[in-house]
Every structure is written in structure tokens, then in C-alpha cells.
Symmetry: C2
Subunit: 329 residues, 2 copies
């Protein structure tokens, strides 16, 4: 999917839905508003670390591309971001992460306790908001997605045994952890569309999400820390097994495999060892394999859009594939 | 509410709904069933530590007392217990508790990470199940209850400053943390009843829940550790300010207040100091005051039942008040 032209920016994708997207942050603030001081304080911090609204963007683009309009879509877009936010708050707490989007995480700034409770607060607010729409359909999609994400998180906890963690397990993990919410965003945007368009957009989001996570995992090996904002090799340091390593292992020589064993057995692996394993994974073709799988998924995502009529929103969804595959962070 | 007769047992209350209540554990197992090994393992442990089903009992009794029958009530009763369970899993993780119902907690047996994710898993399963009932009413009640419980947990985190934590704050805390779910259980049982009965049962559950928590907090001061299963004075040890202390403080002499200050400033207060503060709270009338408030709430709960026609289920709800107020653990 790489192009020789200027790279696609998030701003490019967001153009067809810009006006509506700009209303999402305020809607999100309305939904999570709290009287209780401590919750209001955490909310204020969460708004400072506001993300790129990629999932709301997909939801609104899917809606436009499906040719439907739903008065509830700003609310639905805010709820998608809210579910994402609730997940991040719990993930950071589970991973003991200190930084997120360049800002201190809730667990580091407040406490681990506040993070656990705050994630629950945000998620239950999302459910209340969905109930208030007086329609079970968005809830049906999003409660399944949320549950799938928790299964993905559980799978993640066990993804530390390179010899036992297969590509199939990896696929199940990234499907549950990442693809499910992107797929849900696209499907919820198209709830009022005809079933074939709704199904196509759900599958589009799923394939895009799988590609998104694979690219993320490749960037962990190859990314420029000054661009990605985190040190190269973080996953290896935390003993997280991802696709590049899974693909490389069977093709690595015994010396390379021994290095992987040493790294996985070391509580705090040295930078030099991490660099050597990164190099060995590259030489064994692990990065190339992962990039090819991401491109294949990108093609699948692209093909799903064929069923939709041409429109600026469909073009933007197509561009979102390039954005995901070509991104540097 | 104390009686000279044999104490009311949970078995007594459960008699009118016994046959249906016995189906709840299996229904709960069906709802949370998981393919993924780690989740199935945690589920198995949770079933070993199964509780007394007090909330499902209230739901089923409320339904019978309101004279309605709902084919969904076994499922709703299981969902109420599931929401309670999800809350306990996160609470234990937040409090770093080691034991629950005499068994190791999920955080101590597995890990803190597993607890956070498992609580999310259980709660999202509850939402999926409610969505599957194709009716927004139970979700409307229970999503608000769940959100209220998270606010209660946040309030709990700040309930460590005896001079700043008022009786009004305490009331808001126990309303959110405990009464909301008991109230929700009774209301969901009566969803198909006429509005006055539904409202009365909701208020009944709320007053019962407030009394329940106050009695719990009094037992922490007075309970026999061999019966309650936890050492006397646990709340003071963890610097949790509850009603007995709030009520006693203004009536304590300067020496007593100084002891409270020393205890609250001490990271690990000595047993002797805890015993002295317990004695001082008793002498200043704090325990008596708390017991009287519990009895007042018990009377309010009792009065709410007047609107319902006489029935064995109404008698059992009445007996549940005595059970709550007279319990020793």
C-alpha cells in the first residue's frame, strides 16, 4: 500500500466528517461529567491527554460511506472513544505504564486504585449513555466488543512463551484486543445501513484493526523512538511475543534462538541483547513477514469497500488503510 | 428489631423461593462460561467461593411479594449476583485483600492483572446477558447501579480523614457502595409490578442496604473474629472512618481524640491502640448511635412493605430486615 506521494495524515481522513468530529470531545465530556471531586479531577486529566479520535473518525466515515444518517452518531462516536479510554485506563494499570500520549497515566498520577475504579466508572457511564438511546442494537455490538477486548487482555498476559505462542494465538489475540473495537466502530456507524453494507464495514474494520496492530508490533522493532515516543524493543523488554518474533523463530539459527531464550529468561534484559535479537529477527525475515501480512490484511480491508458507492467518505476509509500501514508511530 | 426467639437464618428467608434460587448458580455458570483456559480457571475458583446469594434472594422475593412472575427472573437473579461478583473482584484488587469468604482472592491466587481484567470480563458478560433479554428496563436500572457503585468506591478512597468525613458523606458512601445494589435487586425483581409496588420495593432495598452496611461497620468494632472471619478493628487498622467513629468523635474527650489522631497517623497501628480506640468509641456512644440508625432504617424498610399484600414472600422480606440487623457476621 506504500505510496510515493506525500503520506496520508489523520487530518486528511477526517476532512469529510470534520464538523461532526469536532463536536465529539464536548459530547464525551457531557457523558462522563461527575459531581464528585476526585472523579471530576481524573476526568480533567483524561481530557488533557485526549487522543486522535481515530475510532470516532471511523464510525462517522462508515456512516457517511454507507449513505445513512443517524441523529445519534455524535453520541455513538463519543461512546466509542469512551470505551477506548476506559480500556486504556485499565491497560495502563495492568501494565504499570507510566506514560500515555506523552502524559502521566492515571495510575502513576493518582494511584492504581483510582485507575481500576475510574475504568469501571467510564465503562458504566458508556453503558448508561447507550441505554439512554433507547435502542439495543449499539449495545448489542459494543457489549460483545468490550467482552472480546477483556479476553484479548487475558490472552496478552500469556503471550510470553515464544515457543508456545503460535501465529494462530497471535491472530486471536490481536483480533480480540484491537480489531474488535475498530470493527465495532465501523459497524455501529453503519447500524442503519442495509445488511450487506453493515457486514462489509464490520469486516473492513476488523481487517484494518488486525493490520493496525501488526504495524504497531513491527514499529516496536523498527520505530524511531523520537517519533514513536517509546524506546525501540519495548515489547521484547517486557517479554511480549509478537508476529515478527513468531515468524522469525523457525528460521533463526541455533545461536539466534539461544539469544531469544536468554532474553526471555532475563528479568531486565540489557539493551545490547535486545538490539541483537531485533537484528536477528530482521535477518530471519520476521519483519518482512509481518509487513506482508499487514499488506494482505490491508488488501482485504480495501476489497470490503467495493460494495459501497463511491463517495468522499469511502475515499477517506480507503486512505485510512494507507494511514494505518504507512504510519511511523 | 431484636427478638427473643431463635435468630432468623438465611435459609428461613430463602424458603419461599428455594426451588428457583437453586437454579441460579447453574445459570450464572452458563453466563460466564469461557473457552479461554485462564478465564475458565478463574471462573472455577470463583464458583468455589460462592456466596450466600443474598441479592438473588431479594430479587426473587421482591418478585413474589409484588405478585408478578417473570420468565427471566432466574437470569436476572444470576446477573445481580454476577455484578456483585465483578465488584468484589475489583474491590479485592483495589484493597489488596488476601482472603474473601475464607478463600484466597483472585488477586492473591492469580495476580493483580488477572483481577482487573476478570472484573471487566464478568461485568461485560452481565451486560451481554441483559442485552440478550431484549428489554432495556433491567439494563437501565443496573447500569445506573453499577455506576453508582464506582462512585461509592471512589468515596471510600477518601474516607480516611476523621475530621473531614461527615455523617452526610458516610451516608452518600454507603448509599452508593452497598444500598444501590440491594435496591436494584429489589427493583429489578418488581419491574413488572405496578409503579407504587416497584417504588416501594426499590426504597425497601435501599433502606435495607443502608442498615446492612451500618451493621457491617458496627460488627467491625464488636464482632467475634471467630464468627466474622476477620480481626476486630480491621477498618481502624486500614484507617477507614465509619459511622461509630464519626458519631463518637464530637463526644470524645481530648485524650480519646488524641488516640484517634495517633492511630490515623500510624501506618501500622498497634493492636493495643486499636483496642483502646474501640473502647473509647463505645464509651462515647458511637456504637449505640450507629445501632440506633440501623434500627431506624430497618423501620423505614419495614414500613415500605405495607403497600404489598400479605404473602409468605412479604413475610420473608420482613424477616430479611431482622436477619440483617441481628446478624453476627
Amino acid at each position: 500500500m506504500s505510496s510515493q506521494l506525500a503520506p496520508v495524515t489523520l487530518g486528511d481522513l477526517q476532512r469529510p466528517v470534520r464538523a461532526r468530529l469536532e463536536r465529539v470531545p464536548l459530547e464525551l465530556q457531557r457523558i462522563v461529567a461527575a459531581d464528585f471531586g476526585l472523579i471530576a479531577e481524573v476526568n480533567a486529566h483524561l481530557f488533557q491527554m485526549q487522543g486522535k479520535l481515530f475510532r470516532p473518525t471511523l464510525l462517522l466515515l462508515a456512516e457517511e460511506a454507507a449513505g445513512v444518517r443517524d441523529v445519534r452518531s455524535i453520541t455513538l462516536a463519543a461512546v466509542i472513544e469512551l470505551i477506548h479510554l476506559a480500556t486504556l485506563v485499565h491497560d495502563d494499570s495492568v501494565d504499570h505504564s507510566v506514560l500515555r500520549r506523552g502524559m502521566p497515566t492515571i495510575n502513576s498520577l493518582f494511584s492504581h486504585q483510582v485507575s481500576v475504579i475510574m475504568g469501571d466508572y467510564l465503562y458504566s457511564r458508556a453503558v448508561i449513555e447507550l441505554v439512554g438511546l433507547d435502542d439495543l442494537e449499539p449495545l448489542r455490538v459494543l457489549s460483545r466488543v468490550t467482552n472480546e477486548m477483556t479476553v484479548g487482555e487475558m490472552r496478552q498476559l500469556l503471550a510470553h512463551e515464544p515457543l508456545e505462542f503460535s501465529e494462530q494465538s497471535y491472530d486471536l489475540l490481536i483480533q480480540a484486543k484491537t480489531a474488535s473495537l475498530l470493527s465495532g466502530a465501523c459497524e455501529v456507524g453503519a447500524l442503519r445501513a442495509a445488511p450487506p453494507a453493515r457486514r462489509a464495514l464490520r469486516r473492513f474494520g476488523g481487517a484494518l484493526g488486525m493490520a493496525f496492530q501488526i504495524v504497531d508490533d513491527v514499529l516496536d522493532y523498527t520505530g524511531d523512538p523520537s517519533v514513536t515516543g517509546k524506546p525501540t524493543g519495548s515489547d521484547l523488554r517486557e517479554h511480549k511475543v509478537t508476529l515478527p518474533l513468531i515468524a522469525a523463530l523457525p528460521r533463526m539459527d541455533p545461536a539466534g534462538r539461544r539469544q531469544v531464550d536468554v532474553l526471555m529468561a532475563s528479568a531486565e534484559p540489557e539493551d545490547a541483547l535486545i538490539e541483537e535479537v531485533i537484528a536477528a529477527v530482521g535477518e530471519a525475515g520476521g519483519l518482512e513477514y509481518a509487513r506482508e501480512r499487514a499488506l494482505l490484511l490491508a488488501q482485504q480491508a480495501d476489497a470490503e469497500l467495493e460494495v459501497l458507492p463511491p463517495s468522499p467518505a469511502r475515499d477517506a476509509l480507503r486512505a485510512s488503510i494507507t494511514y494505518v500501514v504507512d504510519r511511523r508511530r
